[in-house]
Structure formats: C-alpha cells, structure tokens
C-alpha cells in the first residue's frame, strides 16, 4: 500500500549497513547535525564578566552564619536566579552574607533586629555560573560562584549500531507520515522508539515503540499535532502498565520558584520512567512552539527531525524553546542532513506557515 522508500533514504541508510557495530562514527559523517542550544558567552577576562548589583551584609560574628542563613530561607529574599552564587563569602575572618539583587529589591532589605546586624550595602556579583576554571577564578574575586562547566548535550559519540537505530526510526516515522497523508491528514508523524541501549530500555520501562500521526483533520481539532498525540500515547502506555508507580506529572505546571519558595530546594523527580525522560522522539517536521514546549514539559532527552520549519518551529525555527533562559530542562535537537530533499521525495511537504 505504501510506496517504497526513495533512493535518497536508501542511500543514507545504506552507508551505515556494513562495518563493525561498535565503530564510532565521526560527527561529520553522521546523517544528522546537532544544533547548539546555547551560545556560551566567553567570560575569560574580567572586563567580560557580566555582573549585577546585590545587597550584602557583613556578619560581625561567624557564629551568626547559621541563624542568618535560616532567616534568609524564610525571608522571601532569595530568588532562583541567585542559584549560581554561594550565600556566604569568607575573607580571612570576615564573613559576608548575600541577601538579594537590587533589581528585585531597590531599597535595602530589612533585617531581623534580633540578629543585630550592620546595615546592608551593595556589591557587584557575577550574573551567571562559571563555565571554565579561568572564569571561576575571576568571578570568585567578586563573590564565590558555582562552577558549572557545560557537558550536557554536547555531541555524544555515536556507534554504528546506534546510527542504524536512528536511521530505522527515521524511516519508520516517514512511513507513518505517508500513511497519515493517505488518510487525508497532514503528512506529519512522530515516533518514540524503544531505546537503543538495554540500560535506558530498563530504566524508561518502554518495551514497545509508540507512534502517532497528525490527526487535526479527522479530529476536527487544530491542536491534534503528531507530537502531542505521541506524548499522549506514551502517557496512556504508562498508565496501562500494571505496576505503574504514581506519576509526578505536575512538575512543570508553574514556576518552580513557587515550589522552592516553600521547600527551599529544587524539585525532585526521581526515576526515569517519568513521562519521556531519557527517551528520543523522531518527527518528520520541526515541532511547532506548542509541541516543542510540550516535549520540554515531558522531559524528552532528544529530538530528531527531517524538515526545518523556519517560520513556525520551536526547535530552532521561530524560536528555540529548549535553549531559552529560565526553562528547567534542556533537550538535544538534531536535524537530519538533507532532510528536506528526503521529505520532498516522499511528499511530506507542508506550507511554510503550518504549525507542525
């Protein structure tokens, strides 16, 4: 019933058929490219370190540290964008406590009289965590700063076997998109394969692949996009598991600051059989902003797509949702090389104004 796969696909897939399955494929030979989410700003010299004004207070007696920290927790002064700064600075015998940014508190914060502290004063502090040792040293001269080198979502090595897995998945999602077109739908599909490695397979408790096509025509519902349909399929699959442990699916409904305001710590979501955690989603078209954020809420690990949607996409097109400042999860974005050619051959084109 379906047309055979076009030559361009056979050609790409064919390149990875022969050879040792454990061979690492060099990045430039992979059938997809990895999108860099965040352009790290260089802060390797003092003049490049981005700073802002904060209120701090000297602690006359080091023994006050515990009490003042305790008070700070319930004071409402701390904000999530202070996470990269340590709360206390020790310089020889002098301890200083970080209170809050002047941006959020233009006037000096009031301190509990019981602690008998001197008046707060303002100081320039680094605006972000240190990405390198050099920038850490520079930033520490201003205020002790957290060291957080970026490792996540750097290109990871791909063995031939895993490339084959990705090719098979992309082929499957193209088939489904063509099937959707045959049903009178938009030719868009999304696919969550069983993870390639045993460990992730066990951890995610996903033992069968889930696939969904776009159904906005038949459902008479403009939001029945393939990606949302696939997310729903995963949810229903998980709900049907006999020993399904209860889901903490609410993590994202609102600001986590709210959560932190009450518990004084980050939200914990343990276990990887949570939504799409550690899973990969393949889709024919770059997901729209709605679907890109739905994938972020669902904690997907990585997304592959064939066709960039420059005007409506949320994974590099109109916006780059997982690269936004402030969001609490990032996923990797991989764009298939020459994906558009492949898609055109298969009749998967949609209008440039379409939200995929």
């Amino acid at each position: 019933m379906l047309d055979p796969d076009p030559d361009s696909l056979e050609e790409v897939v064919g390149r990875f058929i022969d050879g040792d399955l454990d061979d690492l494929i060099p990045e430039e030979n992979l059938p997809f490219t990895h999108l860099k989410l965040v352009q790290d700003e260089e802060e390797e010299v003092m003049s490049a370190v981005r700073t802002e004004q904060a209120w701090v207070v000297a602690l006359p007696d080091p023994k006050q540290a515990a009490d003042t920290l305790k008070w700070l927790k319930i004071s409402g002064l701390e904000t999530a964008d202070m996470d990269h700064l340590k709360r206390i600075r020790k310089q020889s015998s002098q301890m200083t406590l970080l209170l809050t940014y002047t941006r959020t508190h233009p006037s000096p914060p009031s301190l509990p009289p019981a602690l008998a502290l001197p008046a707060p004063y303002t100081l320039l502090v680094p605006r972000s965590a240190a990405l390198t040792q050099t920038s850490l040293q520079l930033k520490n001269t201003l205020w002790p700063t957290v060291y957080a080198p970026r490792r996540k979502h750097e290109a990871e090595p791909w063995a031939r076997a895993r490339v084959q897995w990705a090719c098979a998945a992309m082929r499957r999602v193209v088939q489904e998109a063509r099937a959707a077109r045959a049903r009178g739908e938009l030719p868009i599909a999304a696919y969550v394969p069983v993870p390639h490695d045993d460990e992730t397979r066990a951890a995610t408790q996903l033992s069968k692949p889930l696939i969904a096509g776009d159904t906005r025509v038949s459902a008479a519902h403009p939001l029945r996009h393939a990606v949302l349909n696939a997310i729903r399929a995963v949810a229903e699959y998980r709900a049907a598991l006999p020993d399904a442990s209860p889901p903490p699916a609410s993590a994202d409904a609102v600001s986590e600051d709210m959560r932190e305001a009450c518990e004084g710590g980050g939200a914990t979501r343990n276990g990887t059989h949570y939504l799409l955690t550690s899973l990969t989603l393949f889709t024919t078209h770059e997901p729209c902003i709605m679907c890109s954020m739905a994938l972020l809420h669902s904690r997907v690990k990585e997304v592959f797509y064939l066709i960039p949607m420059d005007k409506t996409g949320g994974c590099g097109g109109a916006a780059c949702v997982p690269g936004l400042k402030g969001v609490n999860h990032r996923y990797a974005i991989n764009r298939w090389r020459a994906g558009r050619d492949w898609a055109v051959e298969c009749g998967l084109e949609v209008g440039p104004g379409t939200d995929a």
């Binding site: 939001l223 889901p247 903490p248 409904a253 609102v254 709210m258 343990n270 902003i289 949320g314």
Partner: protein, 203 residues
C-alpha cells in the same frame, strides 16, 4: 509581620487589575484552581468566556492523566471543540470571540495553542517565571512573529496574590504523587509576596 513586606501592586496594574468585571471572572477561575488543589493537582484553573457567559471551565489534570501537557487551558479547549453548541463547525480560529481567564500566565505551550486557535484575549493572575509564554520567558502571544496567526493581548495581575498563595499551599503539602516523597514537615508557608518587578509589554 507580613503586612509591612507585602508591597502594594504597581500603579500601572491597579488601573486594570481591579476592574470588577475581570476580577469577578477571575474569581471563577480561582474556584477551579481550588478544585485542582483538592484533587492533588497543581492549582491552576481557568474559564473561557464568550458573549458574557462561561463556555468552559477546567483545571490542571497532569497527575491524573500522567501527562505533563494536560494543563487547564488545553483541557478546556478540548471541551469547547468537542461541544457542538460552542463549535458547530470548525473555523480557522474557533476562539476568535472567546476570552480566557486563567490564574497563572499561560505557559509557552498553552500560549502557542491559544494563538493557533485565534484567542481574542487573555487575562491572568500571576506571572510564570519559568515557563510563561506571554512575556515572562517568551512572548508567544505577540512578540514571536507568526506567518498566519494574529497576536493577542495578555494582561496579568488579576487576583495575583491569591493565585500565588494557592500555589504555595499546594507546594507546602506532601505531594503524594511523587515516587519518593520528600519530607515537607519542616516547610513554612511563606506569606510575603514580592511585586512584579517588570511589567511585561502585553500586546
């Protein structure tokens, strides 16, 4: 102790955010948030209003449905589109005559969904620093261009403090849905609310 820390709402907000008509609708959205709280869901509620009457009301059901995308807005939208009374025939913008009242700024996902459906306008309670799609994190309602869908206006500050407090009440209780619940015995319910520091451009 808390009274002297609660800041008065910023002047620019006071004009519109106390408009009795909008506040009255927001109160109904808040009731939905309370229902969500009673069901162990993140307390966000919403109502959709058309021609002066509520055509749908909903609240978060992410825990129940094991689906992090089942926010109040999407739940209500599904109801409206499934109901022949409110959607007799599907038009390109089925919500073009409909206003949304929601207790928290729509997230990026919902803000995009609303634009795709041509929502008339949005009123919300408190801003959403981590996921807000109407200016706090990304201005999906207007700032981000779209080749087809018109922009819509989103105004915040309606029953803002109540919206924040109902969320805090949720996060202070033990979340029975978490796989390994974290003890929250030592939590203290904070009652101080910092003012919105920047008024987003809302159109």
């Amino acid at each position: 102790m808390s009274e002297d820390i609660i800041h008065p709402p910023l002047l620019a907000q006071t004009d519109s955010a106390t408009n009795p008509e909008h506040v009255q609708w927001m109160r109904q959205a808040m009731q939905m948030a309370e229902i969500a709280l009673a069901h162990g869901e993140v307390p966000v509620g919403c109502i959709f209003v058309r021609d002066g009457r509520v055509i749908a009301q909903a609240r978060n059901r992410t825990n129940k449905l094991r689906n992090a995308t089942r926010h109040a807005e999407l739940e209500a939208i599904d109801e409206i589109l499934a109901d022949k009374q409110w959607t007799p025939a599907l038009t390109p913008y089925p919500l073009s005559e409909t206003t949304l009242y929601v207790t928290v700024e729509p997230c990026i996902m919902c803000a995009s969904a609303l634009r795709q459906l041509g929502i008339k306008e949005v009123f919300y309670g408190c801003e959403n620093d981590r996921f807000g799609g109407c200016g706090s994190v990304l201005g999906v309602n207007a700032e981000v261009p779209h080749p087809a869908h018109p922009a819509y206006e989103a105004k915040g500050g309606y029953l803002r403090e109540e919206a924040i407090m109902v969320l805090r009440r949720f996060y202070i209780t033990e979340n029975a849905n978490a796989p390994v619940p974290k003890s929250k015995a030592n939590r203290v319910l904070k009652t101080t609310i910092t003012p919105q520091t920047s008024l987003q451009s809302q159109a």
